[in-house]
């Protein structure tokens, strides 16, 4: 019962976050210069961009037709709250570009693809950081640790499009090192390269924070006591200290998820993946507001839900945090 209430509370907060983002975004759209219906007509292709400055009867009719088609004929004061409420039930309207339902496309394919890629990248980042960080914290002066420290600093300065294209060029396209299939998204193997590319920066971030946390915790008295009692060094570093540092990493998960959603815009473009990021990139170029707002709202919902979930998980991993909170 308690769990169900907790889940319900999380879901409500997430939906609320999405609705607020939807409201703010639509308000921005309405406040932008020019008439919203005219901009929708240009995105739809019913009007040429240059026609906005000249008004004729035909253009007025076209704009009215598009306004009716996309529910833009009501007053903004009415339609903005209405859209916020629709967002709660995942109804983001229809794309101004092609008239298709935004939710349908997101739920059926695009959203699932991006979510799978992001979660897989997070999992890989967790795994690699969880293996490498305790070792590095244990031997900070070792060559491997120093190289890793330097690399993690540089990795965070690598532009995402560059990493993606380098990976594609080196590991695909018929090169001798070609290990990744060149196309398709119908299995995890085919998605390997984009997932690895997405995981690069989160791995560096997790690694740095985990390493720092473990090193800070390693000076505690209980560690000295554990050593004195004969606890194995590997067990000490890889289990006890790692577990202690996990809540900090869990707090970073929502931040990294937000980063992955942003990075997916670029990575999906490079790998030609038909995901949410690719949709958002095309929508930004076309000025397709419903798609962009759907992306923003869903991101907010996902990040809000993840934040709450990670807070609770932190309490499970380290019960002291739950008592304190």
């Amino acid at each position: 019962m308690k769990t169900a209430l907790a889940v319900a509370s999380m879901a409500l907060r997430a939906l609320g976050a999405g609705a607020i983002v939807c409201l703010i975004s639509w308000s921005l759209v309405e406040c932008a210069p020019g008439d919203t219906a005219e901009r929708a007509a240009v995105t739809r292709g019913a009007l040429a961009p240059g026609d906005i400055q000249t008004s004729t009867t035909v253009q007025a009719e076209l704009i009215a037709e598009v306004a009716l088609d996309f529910d833009l004929h009501e007053s903004p004061i009415l339609r903005v709250p209405k859209r916020g409420l629709h967002a709660i039930r995942f109804d983001f309207g229809r794309s101004w570009r092609d008239g298709q339902s935004v939710s349908g496309r997101i739920v059926s394919t695009a959203g699932v693809i991006t979510l799978v890629l992001s979660l897989a990248a997070l999992a890989i980042a967790f795994l690699l950081a969880g293996i490498g960080a305790p070792r590095s914290a244990r031997c900070p002066q070792s060559p491997g640790s120093q190289i890793a420290t330097f690399a993690s600093a540089v990795v965070l300065s690598l532009p995402i499009p560059w990493i993606a294209m380098l990976a594609l060029d080196v590991f695909a396209y018929g090169h001798p090192l070609s290990i990744a299939p060149k196309g398709g998204m119908d299995s995890l193997v085919h998605s390997l390269l984009p997932i690895v590319v997405l995981a690069v920066a989160p791995t560096a971030v997790f690694w740095r924070h985990l390493r720092q946390e473990i090193r800070d915790a390693a000076d505690a008295q209980w560690v000295v006591a554990a050593r004195a009692r004969g606890v194995d060094e590997s067990r000490l570093w890889n289990r006890h200290l790692l577990k202690l540092a996990l809540p900090t990493i869990l707090a970073l998960v929502p931040v990294m998820l937000a980063y992955l959603l942003a990075a997916s815009i670029v990575v999906e473009r490079v790998f030609a993946i038909d995901g949410l990021g690719s949709m958002a990139a095309s929508a930004a170029q076309d000025g397709d507001a419903p798609v962009l707002i759907a992306f923003a709202s869903l991101s907010a919902m996902l990040i809000s839900a993840t934040t709450q979930a990670m807070n609770r998980l932190s309490g499970v991993v380290d019960p002291r945090r739950e008592v304190q909170s």
Binding site: V29, S157, P159, A262, I265, A283, Q285, A289
Partner: protein, 276 residues
């Protein structure tokens, strides 16, 4: 090792400052018997070399880093591309810092303002810069340098405002600020003259990180076709061309190396090598 980021930054600054002297098809100095030319004898916008169009050529003696898909010299575009990148980085850092200071000062005046402003900042700061810029740019339109700087500055300002606000709170709790208040100075004067200087070191570090973020964001936006546009040379635009032209390595590698070098050197300034 500490000198490497500074040297890299200095190198890029010199490239930007003297781009016209480094990459120019016209001779810099001409005497009766001698000609002094630029090391890169090409303009960033010329599509012809010796009267011919040569599209997507790999590096050669004539074009050190090859040509792009319009026949323009890549090395010249790389050098001249440092200018808009540095301008965006510097202006974004400056604007974000100013906005952050303004927000932190406003938040420090009243408790309810503090809660309101910080809540807003937390929400905006939680969203990655690229995500926010893509969405806002798509919703509001707006191309051009100023729009780009504004769109990148706002989320960074939100993140920096909290840092500055924390420093202001810590400084206000110090005895010298209390003494200043006791002497009858106005709240604004205490904040401005006495508390704010304590946050300068954090502000400097945050500004360096903002500049680094701005470089990466500008490159990503140019890659997506949401950057400056037009004929303006840009490192992101070189990467976009690489993507459209079978990942031609002479378009891809130099732009990536330059971006990485600049972003890393900026983020490494003032010990600010922390990014989450």
């Amino acid at each position: 090792m500490k000198w490497i980021p500074r040297a890299l930054l200095l190198l890029v600054l010199l490239l930007a400052a003297f781009a016209d002297q480094i990459a120019n098809s016209e001779p810099l100095l001409e005497t009766k018997n001698w000609t002094v030319s630029a090391p890169i004898r090409a303009n960033p916008t010329d599509v012809r070399t010796d009267g011919r169009i040569a599209v997507l050529r790999p590096p050669s003696g004539t074009h050190l880093l090859g040509t792009d898909d319009r026949g323009r010299d890549v090395a010249a575009r790389l050098v001249h591309g440092s200018r808009p990148t540095l301008v965006i980085a510097a202006c974004t850092a400056a604007l974000a810092s100013l906005l952050a200071v303004f927000l932190a000062l406003v938040a420090s005046t009243k408790p309810w303002l503090d809660r309101l402003v910080m809540a807003g900042c937390d929400v905006i700061a939680a969203v990655p810069v690229l995500l926010l810029v893509v969405i806002v740019r798509g919703l509001l339109g707006g191309s051009g340098l100023f729009a780009l700087i504004l769109f990148i500055s706002v989320p960074r300002a939100a993140g920096t405002a909290r840092l500055v606000r924390e420093q202001l709170r810590a400084a206000l709790a110090m005895p010298y600020c209390e003494a200043a208040s006791a002497l009858g100075l106005s709240q604004f004067r205490v904040l401005w003259r006495h508390a704010l200087p304590a946050s300068f070191s954090q502000l400097r570090t945050a500004a360096a990180l903002t500049a680094s973020t701005a470089v990466l964001a500008e490159v990503a936006l140019s890659f997506l076709g949401l950057g400056l546009g037009g004929d303006t040379p840009s490192w992101g635009e070189l990467m976009r061309q690489a993507h459209e032209n079978q990942l031609a390595w002479w378009l891809l590698v130099p732009a990536g190396v330059a971006t990485t070098g600049l972003a890393w050197s900026l983020s490494s300034q003032f010990g600010g090598n922390r990014r989450a």
